[in-house]
Symmetry: C2
Subunit: 234 residues, 2 copies
DNA sequence: GCAAAAGTGTTTCCCCTACACCCATGG
DNA sequence: CCATGGGTGTAGGGGAAACACTTTTGC
């Protein structure tokens, strides 16, 4: 270990952190990944996973991925910047500017992890989220709005569903996001006519009724159509 | 003046700046506001206006507005966060995280200011922008993309046009953003049927032919329709 | 055979598109 | 009176919306 040292500047400096809003989908509901804070400000309260960036050594996105892996072990997911929050009093200690990220993971890909992790990360249904530390309530609200808006015109839903999924599940996700019901036939027709889903000729198993056909998102088909000026919309 | 002092921390800290991409519209072209750098890194080169935040004293948006007023004198404009750029090597001196903002101003509202200002801010047509300092090229590219995209589904165009404008000018702006031609009759019909433009019963002056009718964006009508679930699209 | 969900076609209506001519004004 | 842009209506086609019944499977 290096000897403890300090860093001196001519002006006061802000701290910079990244915070991640990680969404997961569980058959019927959206969930967010929350941690329980183990340290001083807001100790014991729920918060978004995140932490300080390594100054001079990593980009913001790298920092977000690093923090997320350290705290939750997850890898391979959609990650995009959400926005930056920097009110001087958002952290009671000193001025902390946080760059919020927005992640979509397939819950099914990552072992259940019964919540018994280093800093106990746990999934929380989106409509049962408690009051969060710092301004994380606000960040979460922005993320939610962004997710719901973006699902309509970008194929983000496929980042939440398992790789193989029945159309019904996709429809459920879209109904959740739009807050309304969707006509089954029109939905299927529209989605299939996009030509971005691959029919796997497989069916669900372990269901107590007729098993549904499984599909997979065909990313290269999506990219090809996008290049040709088409754009996704649901 | 206080005596010069220094600030000491247990960890290295990044600097945080704000940079603004300010768009203006000039009858036929989009312009960006650029400054010429008067200081060391990239001295003499064009750059986006911006500067350091006042740690512990202001929010990010306040910082953006302050910098913009200091450097250009403009006030009252649409401002929104664009994104944050924090690669450790984006500034050759040390790690600087910059929060980029995106502003739309009515060029007509602000005196021409023949470029002879403190740090010489000047309008530059969007397709004649030189190579910029730092990663400002990248920031500008993101801003452009965002502007073009957002004009379609948010009434941002009215923040660029003068308060009173003929429909032709609105159409030109949309043609610029979409990169294509638009049918005059369909455009007018669609825009007027939205019910968010107020017909001023006035006409242009000083034109060498039939004078066009002037309109004004009716913000409260827009908000009312939005509340009722309608959404703007062009 | 029944409960439970999967899967499928057709018609209607509206909105977007394409398109060409007359009008007002200044010079 | 002519040049320049302002302003208007209509017909046709395509995609979204509405809507009900048959099929498969496990129990």
């Amino acid at each position: 270990m290096g000897t403890p040292r300090t860093y001196t500047y001519d002006y006061p400096m802000p701290a910079v952190t990244v915070d991640c809003v990680v969404f997961g989908w569980d058959d019927n509901d959206l969930h967010v990944l929350l941690i329980e804070r183990g340290e001083k400000p807001y100790e014991g309260q729920a918060a978004l996973p995140g932490g300080f960036i390594q100054v001079g050594r990593e980009s913001l996105e790298q920092a977000a991925r690093r923090e997320l892996e350290e705290e939750t072990g997850i890898r391979n997911y959609h990650l995009e910047q959400l926005g930056t929050f920097g009110n001087p009093d958002r952290d009671p200690r000193y001025h902390v500017v946080t760059v919020a990220y927005f992640a979509l993971v397939r819950k099914s890909d990552h072992r259940p992890r019964g919540g018994t992790d280093a800093r106990s990360a746990a999934w929380c249904p989106l409509d049962e989220v408690p009051s969060l530390a710092f301004d994380h309530d606000e960040i979460l609200a922005v993320a939610k709005k962004r997710l719901y808006g973006k699902l309509r015109y970008k194929p983000l839903g496929f980042q939440l569903l398992p790789r193989k999924f029945p159309l019904r599940d996709l429809q459920r996700l879209y109904e959740t996001a739009s807050g309304g019901e969707v006509d089954k036939r029109n939905f299927r027709k529209k989605v299939l006519e996009m030509g971005i889903l691959e029919d796997l000729n497989e069916t669900e198993s372990d269901v107590a009724h007729r098993a549904a056909r499984l599909y997979r998102f065909n990313e290269s088909a999506y990219r090809k159509r996008s290049r040709d000026g088409w754009h996704f919309e649901l």
